[in-house]
């Protein structure tokens, strides 16, 4: 999927941050990601990396006040998050959310089904009588389940992972691997991973990086934007482009060696430059 971000300016939305007032967070971001490319966006804390990720996915907390986000020629500025997901945009969260009482499989099933319109719905006033057709295993669903089990096992998630309550009681590493599990299962066209590497130990990072590589290999037209604070994930994944973000802008773009430079010298140079 092709992603074009032009002069994107974003404020926090006053509706949701009542009393806080509008705060400018992204101050004109330009980014172009071609189909099948891997981009890494780096930057210090507070530079706007995570905001960029959430704005691409359509978080209602943020308000686009200028510029545009275009995927495959379509402006998505005004689309709700679910419509963006249906276009093939996927955000791997920095802090995945818990959904108590809902199994991993149920979330995944809903995600894969999207809005299927042919479901029979019950009505108020109806008796609770078993609809036996619902008990018949859906063949396609069982295939999906099988795929999920294979992905889960490749990510070293436990055998009962699919029946666990979504992210509830997961370790930090399990939460991150659960994000990757969803990416593998949903085969999105544009993947944004927000600090997928934070909170992972070396083995966890290798596992996740391996899965990302495998994903990129099997989904050759899908694009990846990996947002990170550290360069260490680049030991495992080859990026086509590396960008540095500071104070709400992308201030430098380059090839993989830019990451090594940051690794060595830190972000200080960019931060002072942007002020």
């Amino acid at each position: 999927m092709n992603l074009q971000i032009k002069n994107l300016k974003v404020n926090t939305s006053t509706k949701l941050s009542a009393g806080v007032g509008d705060k400018e967070i992204l101050k004109g971001v330009n980014l172009e990601v071609g189909g099948g490319q891997v981009h890494v966006v780096m930057g210090p804390n507070g530079s706007g990396k995570s905001t960029l990720a959430q704005v691409i996915a359509g978080h209602p907390f943020y308000k686009i006040v200028g510029g545009s986000i275009v995927v495959d020629g379509k402006n998505i500025n005004k689309l709700s998050p679910d419509k963006r997901a249906k276009l093939g945009i996927f955000l791997g969260f920095q802090n995945p959310i818990e959904i108590p009482g809902v199994s991993v499989f149920n979330v995944m099933r809903k995600a894969i089904q999207g809005t299927s319109k042919n479901r029979k719905t019950p009505v108020k006033g109806q008796a609770f009588v078993p609809d036996l057709s619902k008990l018949r295993p859906d063949l396609k669903l069982s295939e999906f389940r099988q795929q999920l089990l294979e992905h889960a096992s490749s990510l070293k998630l436990s055998n009962d992972h699919l029946s666990r309550s979504f992210n509830e009681g997961f370790s930090g590493g399990e939460k991150k691997r659960n994000e990757i599990l969803q990416m593998l299962a949903l085969s999105p066209k544009l993947v944004i991973l927000d600090e997928i590497d934070s909170g992972l130990d070396v083995d966890g990072l290798k596992l996740v990086a391996g899965a990302i590589k495998k994903f990129a290999h099997t989904n050759r037209r899908s694009s990846l934007v990996i947002i990170t604070h550290y360069a260490r994930i680049l030991k495992y994944i080859k990026a086509d482009f590396v960008h540095v973000m500071a104070d709400g802008r992308i201030v430098k773009s380059g090839k993989q060696k830019l990451a090594s430079e940051i690794e060595e010298k830190g972000y200080e140079k960019w931060q002072t430059q942007s002020q």
């Binding site: 209602p60 998050p81 809902v102 009505v123 609770f128």
Partner: protein, 464 residues
Amino acid sequence: MADAIPVTDYKYGFSKPENYVFKSKKGLDVGVVEEISSMKGEPEWMRDLRIKALGIFEKKKMPSWGADLSSINFDDIYYYIKPTDNQKSDWRDLPKEIKDTYDAIGIPEAERNLLAGVTAQYESEAVYHSFQKKWEDMGVIFCDMDTALRKYPDIVKSYFGRSIPAADNKFAALNSAVWSGGSFIYVPPGIKVDIPLQAYFRINAANMGQFERTLIIVDEGAYVHYVEGCTAPVYSTDSLHAAVVEIFVKKGARCRYTTIQNWSNNVYNLVTKRAFVEEDGVMEWVDGNLGSKITMKYPSCYLVGRGARGEILSLALAGSGQCQDAGGKLMFLAPDTSGEIISKSVSVGSGRTSYRGLVKIIKNAERVKCNVRCDALVIDEKSRSDTYPTMEVAEDNVQIGHEASVSRIGEEQLFYLMSRGLTEVEATSLIVNGFIEPIVKELPLEYAVELNRLINLSMEGSVG
């Protein structure tokens, strides 16, 4: 929520022509009560009990607490409607209107596949009954209350009104005066009925009052699971459902009683349910309230024998114009008894839920263990949830836990699920289903599936 749902979706809110054998006049007096009793050919003691109960009903005040019941007009209700001449045990023998009703709801198929026995009550009388011979041969009795009164008068007489006397409350008095139908179950010692027995209650006529009376006796070491489902069509005028359920769990026995109440939103649902639990017996109430205009229902366990246990799982979903005032009562009347109340309520689209619970521990009921947990989920600004927990504890050597929470659906939860392709309604439904999961997992699978779908529908009508 009726307002929010397009009329075309409401296909189970249908009504059928009223081809009744007998319909009492509107309103209530001694004449109506005597007429009901004589139509049924009841023994004199039952007729006297009814007339005495009517006197109590007339004297008793409406409850001064709970939901607003001021718009119930007792003079505008039909207290007794007899839909057929006699009860059928073959589905094909039912009058067409009634058969069509149950066919539309899907009962024959469910019966064939999943149940040990079924009773279907239409208006005031059970119109259909079937029960697997296997269980009958083992001495299990499952029939409607009117039949029980005719065939097993001694058992009925010794238990009727013993746990819920007419004087208990105004609606128990009303039920005692005009009761008709309901289920009677007796399980002999040591018999474990391993698939559920089920009753379906259907109100068809407008301004109808349904007053079923259910009596369950689970003898020593026995087990039974009874499931009831309730529906009614949509009318512009209100109907009244005032049932009484009495359960006796003997030594070492266990009873589970599952209700999924999905009355249409013009039914006042005012039900008294009580179980007496003897030594080492276990009573489990699984009480789901989704429909009705107003529900006031607090299933209770009187733990009278040492080591008895009571569990109450209460689930309430209140949509627009609905008030679900539900909860439970645990009475610890013997040492070493234990119990738990878990209440989950969801209010949406200006719906109102209240948890009302009573835990009472008498002096000398030592080593009682009791846990109460009530969680409320309030979906939007217009909805409301209240909690009224009461504890009366006269014994020091006890362990009591109480937890309560009220939550809203988080913006971050919604965003997360929507970023996975779920619409706002789907995301909300999923979160609600997760919230009530601790109770839903106690339901038979088919009912859990139905419940999830109904909740999705409620959210569709109210969210976004």
